[in-house]
Amino acid sequence: MKDIRLMKGNEAIAEGVIRAGCDGYFGYPITPQSEVLEYLMATKTKERTGMITMQAESEIASIHMVYGGAAAGKRVMTSSSSPGISLMQEGISFMAGTELPCLLLNVVRGGPGLGTIQPSQSDYFQAVKGGGHGDYKMIVLAPASVQEMYDFAKLGFELAFKHRIQVMVLSDGAIGQMMEKVELDEQVPRWTDAEIVKMHPWATTGKTPDRERNIITSLDLNPVKQEIININLQKKFKHIEETEVRFERIMCDDAEYLFVAYGSSARICQKAVMLGRERGIKVGLLRPITLFPYPTHELAKLAKQVKGMLSVEMSAGQMVEDVRLSVNGAVPVEHYGRLGGIMPAPDEVLNVLENKFIKNKNYELHTH
C-alpha cells in the first residue's frame, strides 16, 4: 500500500532526507523553516535510521559541520532561510572549492535584511549566480509542491554525489508552510562506513596503508595549479549544464505567450494559464525545475515560437536575466514581480501578460 500523508513542505523534505539515507543534519532555527529541524528531532532520527540531527550554535557552525561530514563522505545537509543562508556564503564557497557534496535548503523569505518572514523568491541571484566569492555554481532545484520538497531530498543527494557538488533546494515560505498530499517511498539505507570508503575514495575516513592520505582543501597558492583546479571546476559545471537540465512544459505546444516561473510562482502561473485558456489566450508555462543548470536551450527554442515571455517571480527581477540571456533578444521578455512577502494572484499575473503583450497598453508595473 502506498504511504500517503498530508504534510507541510518543511516536514516533507525532512521525511525525505531521512528516507534518502541522510547521515546528518546540522541546523539553526529560523522562520519559515524551523519545522525541518523540529520534525527531525521529533521523529528521533538517531533511533530510526542512525541519522544524526543536531542543533548548531549558528548557521555558520551548521554549514561547517556539514563541511566536516561531507568531507568524510557522508550524506549531510543543512537548512535555513534567507539571512541564515547569507551567513553561509563563505562556507558554501569553501564547499564549492573542495567539491563536497551536500544538500542545502533555503526556504526563502522576504529581504533584504531582516525583512519579513513571508514567502519570497528574492534569493535567486544568490543561489544561482553565486553569493559567495569565486567562480562556482551549485545545482539549484526549485520545488513547486510539497511532493517535490519530498522528492528533491533524494534527487538532491543523488546529484550531489554524482557530481561532487552542492545541491540547493530553493524553496520559499509558501512551499515550506503549506500542506499537500505526499506519497512517500521506501527507506534508502544509509551507507555503511565500509561502503563510503569504497564509493568515495576521496573521503577523509582515516588513512589506511593501502592508499595515500586524503586531503580536502580549497587552497592552492600556486596560481598555475589554482587555475587548473578552476578550469576543472568549470568543466564540471559545463557538463552539468549539458546533462542535468530539468523543466516542466505546461501547455507550451501551441503557446503564443509564455510564462516563465519557478516554485510557488509557477503554481500561480499554472492557474493563470488555465484562466488564460478560458479567456482564449494561447498561453503556456515553462517551469524551470533546475535553476542551475538553467533550461536555456528550451527557452531559446520557445523564443522561436512565442510572441513574448513574462518572467513571474516574487522578486524585483532576477531570473528574468537568465530568460533574457537565453533568448538573446529574439523575443520581448518582461518581468512581473511582487515584493516583500506578497504573492501575486493568478488573475493578476494573467492581466499583466495580457496588458504587456496583447492589449499592448502601457501597463503600470507594481515594482517600478
Binding site: 500517503i4 498530508l6 522562520t31 519559515p32 518572514i117 513571508q118 515560505g173 509558501a174 508552510q177 503549506m178 500542506m179 499537500e180 498530499k181 510557488s264 503554481r267 500561480i268 499554472q270 492557474k271 493563470a272 494559464v273 488555465m274 504573492m343 494572484a345 493568478p346 488573475d347 493578476e348
Partner: protein, 184 residues
C-alpha cells in the same frame, strides 16, 4: 470538482486545525488537497487564516485571491475577505462579534451561531467543528466516513477519545446553519 475555501478568524479559534481536518478528510476520500496558512509571529493573538483547496484534479495555485467559499469568524476577516468570494459563491459567518455584516448581493450568505452553540454545550473547543458542520451542510464534499478518517488522521492519538464529540458538533453545525435574507 474543485472547491477553493478560505477560513479566517482569530488565532485561537481553531481556524488552522479546522482547515487541516477538512484537508485530511479530503485526502482520505482520495481527492487532491492543499492547505496554506498565514504563518509567523503575527499569529500570536492576531488573525489567522488558511486557504484549503479540495479538488479532483491536480491543484495549480495553492494561493488564491478568489474563493468559492469564505468561512469568516471575526470582523477583521470579514473586512478582508468579503470581496474575495467569487460571484455566486458562499460566505458563511458567525455573527457573534460581527459589527458590519456582509453586504454583497451576488453571493450566498449563511450564518452559523457556532460560538453560542458551543457555549450552550459548555464545550468551547468544538466551536470550529460546528462551523465545519455548517460548511459541510452547504458543500457536502466529504462523506461522513471520510470526515471521521480525517479526524483520526489529524488529531493526535491522545485526543481520539474526543472524536465522537467532534462528530456530534459537526452534525449540530449542519442543523444550525441558515441562510441570510438578502434585502435588495
Amino acid at each position: 470538482m474543485t472547491e477553493e475555501i478560505i477560513i479566517a478568524g482569530f488565532g485561537g479559534q481553531g481556524v488552522l486545525s479546522m482547515g487541516k481536518i477538512l484537508a485530511y478528510a479530503g485526502m482520505m476520500q482520495n481527492k487532491e488537497v492543499s492547505w496554506f496558512p498565514s504563518y509567523g509571529p503575527e499569529m500570536r493573538g492576531g488573525t489567522a487564516n488558511v486557504t484549503v483547496i479540495i479538488s479532483d484534479e491536480r491543484i495549480s495555485s495553492p494561493i488564491l485571491n478568489k474563493f468559492d467559499t469564505a468561512i469568516i469568524l471575526n470582523q477583521q476577516s470579514m473586512d478582508k475577505f468579503e470581496n474575495s468570494v467569487k460571484k455566486g459563491g458562499v460566505l458563511i459567518y458567525d455573527p457573534n462579534g460581527i459589527v458590519r455584516h456582509p453586504e454583497r448581493t451576488d453571493i450566498n450568505i449563511y450564518t452559523i451561531d457556532a460560538a453560542d452553540e458551543a457555549a450552550k454545550l459548555g464545550f468551547k473547543k468544538v466551536f470550529n467543528m460546528i462551523v465545519l458542520g455548517a460548511f459541510l451542510k452547504l458543500k457536502p464534499l466529504i462523506e461522513p466516513e471520510y470526515m471521521r478518517k480525517g479526524l483520526e488522521k489529524s488529531l493526535p492519538l491522545r485526543h481520539h477519545g474526543m472524536i465522537p464529540e467532534n462528530e456530534k458538533a459537526i452534525e449540530l453545525g449542519k442543523s444550525k446553519v441558515h441562510e441570510m435574507l438578502v434585502l435588495s
